[in-house]
Amino acid sequence: MLEGILIGLQTALSLQNLLLVVGGCLIGTFIGMLPGLGPMSIIAIMIPIAVSMGDPSAALILLAGVYYGAIFGGSTSSILLNAPGVAGTVASSFDGYPMSQQGMAGKALTIAAIASFAGGTIGAILLMIFAPMLSSVALLFHSAEYFALMIVGLSAIAAFSGPGQVTKALLMTVLGLMMATVGEGALFNLPRFTMGIMDLQSGFGFITLAMAMFALPEAVFLVLKPKNLGDDGGEIKDLRISRAEARAIAPVIGRQSIQGFFIGVLPGAGATIASFLGYAVERNIAPKHEQAEFGKGSIKGLAAPETANNAACTGSFVPLLTLGIPGSGTTAILLGALIALNVTPGPRLMIDEPQIFWAVIMSMFIGNLVLLILNLPLIPYIAKLLAIPRNYLIPFILFFTLMGAYIGQNNATELLMLVGFGICGIALKFANYPLPPLLIGFILGGMMEDNFSRSMQLYGGMSFIWERPMTLGLLVLALVLVLLPILQSTRAHRNA
């Protein structure tokens, strides 16, 4: 391994490759901040440039830098504007945005930068150690376990939505899952619930729904309840984290780096599940008085998803590099880039082309470090977005919301859908229905149905539930997660 590390360092530390990492991180951060352009789109856009370089190591180093930069950029728009451009950063807005509203935008971005750095770096260490053996563990997870794992993720989100809110969160989750069934599913190739409307054939757009459920209601609420976003901004420039805060988030970062990495290894799970599960786990194990803080600007609530999504991004490289199986959309695009560069990822990559394997791992360390060094000094300037007067900021938020939906689908009808869903989102927010579960249900819906259908086909029915012990265990856990808080709140209400 030492020899590999040295080969990797030699490649990654050349002047050209260092410049590529820095450039990639900067491009990724700034483009990633635009809602609608997630890592997948940015990497896809960068592929022609990377491939034209001809050197697979340099190309992968550039793309890895862009990847990490885009994830951090996505977190920035989640934290500052409540406009998550990608699914993996939705959970960061749960506590990051309330922190910004309380005048702690600078601190929130610092925590995000440090948590991302730690998650990515610890993930890279784990990747180095466990890559060869983890690839075989990932293969033990079959569609039945994936289906059950997603149920656990969704139940955890509903379960931790707060007293008296569990059923509402559950209903929102189901609604999100229902919305994911609209359109032509990959498995059946049949249009469902399209009502004969052509624009619904490909289903609803993720970005449209994300913008409609988060950014649009938020902007409308800012109009309804006028308050200059910069009013509380006295501490915008204050990036410091107190010693007590650092002590509070350190164990969260440690736990979520490991958990996020191992979730990222599972093909199909990725940064989204890792961030939601990380958030849910940290909320669940926090002391009671801290649990109430989640969703209102808890530093732990921000550190958990930020660490987990970066660690999971690193973890998702395990199946790609060792098996040649892309675990996420982004790694699928990276696989395409590798193939275009005449590199075949798989078990022989470490043996045949060790310089590529190790250079990618080393560039992850360097990329994370560069991201931290570049972004910490930039945070006060990024956070200044909030000091823009509302008369200018709100039209811009609405415009970027519209652009996000338009760029994603290149279809003007999508904009009308965005406004329609936005009005529904505002009504749901008025009635105190939690909106994140709806979006999470929507994101996981397609994958969940695919895994459910595959399991049904393999086992000829529902018998996969009791014939696979891991599936049964996960489903029982999901049931407990949902029923326990409902029973607890009903009992508490009866005793009161």
Partner: protein, 164 residues
């Protein structure tokens, strides 16, 4: 009846319509060989419809107890808020969506940003106009020229005249 229950009632209706489609109409055109499969296109939606109906019903009858929480905005005191501005901005978004293609990106976006600021009470034209126009051009350049995502910049008839 509280607003959350009214919404639960509407969602119950949506779930019933969804369920009706899944249980009774979706499989009508299914090819005979697909009927032998253990899983049909309607299988997952059927499960979801049952869960959705159950969850909305629980909220409707108030089975899950908890303290009544007022959201960020108290909908019972709407008069205290600037709802006129909010409605106008939503209408402006619809107009923007309808104009984007025929009028082109540059004019509709600059118009959207200027009118949006006007609705919110901004009257400093010397700031508003340069900010809106320069931002419009910057975004167009970034999206069209750097990212190569096509956006028709001007109205169709001008593009046709210039042969673009």
């Amino acid at each position: 009846m509280a607003l959350d229950r009214w919404i639960a009632l509407i969602l119950l209706g949506i779930c019933i319509v969804y369920g009706y489609t899944a249980w009774f109409t979706m499989d009508a055109g299914l090819a005979p060989f697909m009927r032998r499969n253990p899983v049909w296109p309607s299988s997952f939606p059927k499960v979801l419809s049952v869960l959705g109906i159950a969850a909305s019903f629980i909220i409707l009858i108030g089975l899950e107890k908890g303290e009544e929480k007022i959201g960020e905005i108290d909908h019972r005191r709407l008069d205290d808020y600037f709802y006129g501005q909010a409605l106008l901005l939503l209408a402006l978004m619809v107009v923007y969506a309808l104009c984007l293609r025929p009028v082109g990106f540059l004019i509709s976006t600059a118009g959207f940003l200027i009118i949006g600021s006007l609705i919110l009470g901004e009257r400093k034209w010397h700031i508003m106009l340069p900010v809106a126009i320069s931002a419009t051009f910057a975004v167009w350049y970034l999206v069209q020229e750097v990212l190569s995502i096509y956006m028709r910049p001007l109205p169709t008839f001008i593009t046709n005249l210039t042969g673009g």
